[in-house]
């Protein structure tokens, strides 16, 4: 009898305790003080076909060093570009016309210098490392900005599940607004990357949904938006991973980025 009474008392105590559980988990969107951290997105514009000058190769070597040091705290996307129209010296086989438009968008937003390669944009417009004079000169500038941004709080959580069926990839994603203020309209950028095997083609962008990113409506504080992106995977394409990056609708500043390996 005492045993049974003890059991009820214990259950009652636990239930009472549950009512009083504070929502103090920093990753719980319902916690008004919640926040997280984000990996830093490095978008590099390079050309590896022109070998007379080593600038692009120094930049890519620096990116490998950064990748090795920071691990999953950085996400790298390398856009290969034909830098000069009609000049076959600069014809990079991984280049696509839309990459030039994306480069222009970033360079215009920065405003200090027009498009030139090698050029790295950090979390959109939050840092730019233009040019190279050595591996160290690129690495040092990257490190300075990355360290600063890693200290900043992110008020978004982003998760995704990938399902591959034949040549179709379905991305089910969830965006949560952390903290105590609502988020305005957002955009989800989808970037596919592939490892072509060499140190200079480790993170090549095969395509992206630029300039038509997925639109996400405003999200109230503590709420979660669920969305889906369906992409066909061509046989020639065969990306290894997909990068999802979140920006405000009218901004190129990256709020949150994740990378998922395609199964």
């Amino acid at each position: 009898m005492f045993k049974s009474l003890f059991k009820y008392v214990l259950i009652a105590a636990l239930l009472g305790g549950c009512d009083d559980l504070p929502r103090d988990n920093l990753l719980d969107p319902r916690n008004e003080s919640s926040y997280g951290s984000s990996a830093i997105l490095l978008e590099a514009f390079v050309n590896t076909y022109y070998t007379e000058l080593e600038y692009n190769f120094w930049t890519l070597q620096a990116l490998r060093q950064v990748e090795s040091f920071y691990g999953q705290r950085v996400i790298i996307a390398e856009y290969h570009r034909d830098i000069k129209v009609g000049d076959s010296t600069y014809h990079d086989p991984y280049s696509y016309a839309t990459y030039d438009n994306r480069h222009k968008m970033y360079a215009d937003a920065d405003g200090t210098f027009d498009r030139a390669i090698p050029d790295i944009f950090i979390n959109g417009d939050q840092g730019r490392v233009l040019g190279a004079s050595s591996v160290a000169s690129v690495h040092d500038r990257l490190q300075q900005t990355i360290n600063r941004l890693l200290d900043e709080k992110s008020y978004y959580a982003l998760e995704a599940d990938l399902t591959k069926s034949n040549n179709t990839l379905t991305i089910d994603y969830r965006v949560a607004r952390l903290g105590n203020t609502a988020a305005g309209e957002l955009r989800l950028n989808v970037i596919f990357v592939k490892d072509y095997g060499s140190d200079y083609s480790r993170r090549v962008v095969t395509r992206s949904n630029y300039p038509f990113p997925n639109e996400i409506p405003g999200i109230k504080a503590g709420e979660i938006f669920k969305g889906q992106v369906v992409e066909s995977l061509s046989v020639t394409d065969k990306p290894d991973a997909v990068i999802l990056s979140l920006t405000e609708k009218n901004s190129i500043s990256v709020l949150k980025s994740i990378e998922k390996v395609i199964p």
């Binding site: 830098i83 129209v85 016309a97 210098f113 027009d114 498009r115 390669i117 090698p118």
Partner: protein
């Protein structure tokens, strides 16, 4: 008639009594008007008194922070002045008085400083980054007690200096160079050197330098 003559004498005395000392046209004569710090300068003034009574001499010097120092006594027509450490333009003044009025004369003395001009590069910051074809604005201050005759901007790469621009000295002491655009041969670390020459016979030179990084790029675009 006698009364009138006596009265005229009294008026003349009255007028004379109110006349100031008269200085020689040469004014203050100095042993040298361009001297080094701590040199002794002998200065004299020749004055006459149109009325009865003694003349009084009061010497002073202005300029710099101290104005220099007179060897005492310094209350006669001839004095000795020790030039201060700080170079620049000084003005020696003598006030000559009789019992009623006084008159002044002054003389400029240049103290030539052997100190180097003080140069400070305000822009760009040390270790700043630029890319090829980018304009590199350079701003520096250069100061010297005797003024600055010219300021030069040089860029040094692998031990070789190249003169980029030269500006004349100015009173404000601020110099802005707009003649440097990064070029491919500078890719890597380069030294920006600003050098200034003092505007005095010693022509001492001072300088300041910063290291800058020039990053190589390939310019071009697919779309306008």
């Amino acid at each position: 008639m006698i009364w009138a003559l006596v009265a005229c004498e009294g008026v003349e005395e009255l007028i004379n009594a109110n006349r100031p000392p008269e200085l020689d046209d040469q004014g203050i004569i100095v042993s040298a008007d361009r001297v080094a710090p701590f040199d002794t300068v002998t200065a004299s003034i020749s004055a006459t008194n149109p009325v009865e009574g003694p003349l009084f001499y009061e010497w002073s010097a202005a300029g710099g922070s101290t104005g220099g120092r007179f060897i005492q006594p310094a209350d006669s027509s001839l004095v000795r002045w020790i030039a201060p450490l700080l170079g620049g333009s000084y003005r020696m003044t003598v006030k000559v008085s009789n019992n009623r009025r006084s008159v002044e004369a002054s003389k400029a003395i240049e103290v030539v400083s052997s100190a180097k001009p003080l140069v400070d590069i305000r822009e760009p910051a040390n270790d700043a980054y630029f890319v090829v074809n980018q304009q590199i604005p350079v701003e520096a201050t250069a100061q010297h007690e005797n003024g600055i005759s010219w300021v030069r901007l040089l860029v040094s790469k692998d031990g070789r200096d190249s003169l980029i621009q030269q500006l004349d000295g100015n009173a404000a002491g601020v110099y802005r160079f707009d003649g440097l655009r990064a070029y491919r041969a500078l890719v890597g670390k380069a030294i920006l050197l600003v050098e200034a020459q003092a505007a005095n016979p010693m022509q001492t030179k001072g300088n300041d330098s910063v290291i800058i990084n020039i990053e190589g790029i390939i310019e071009g675009k697919n779309e306008p």
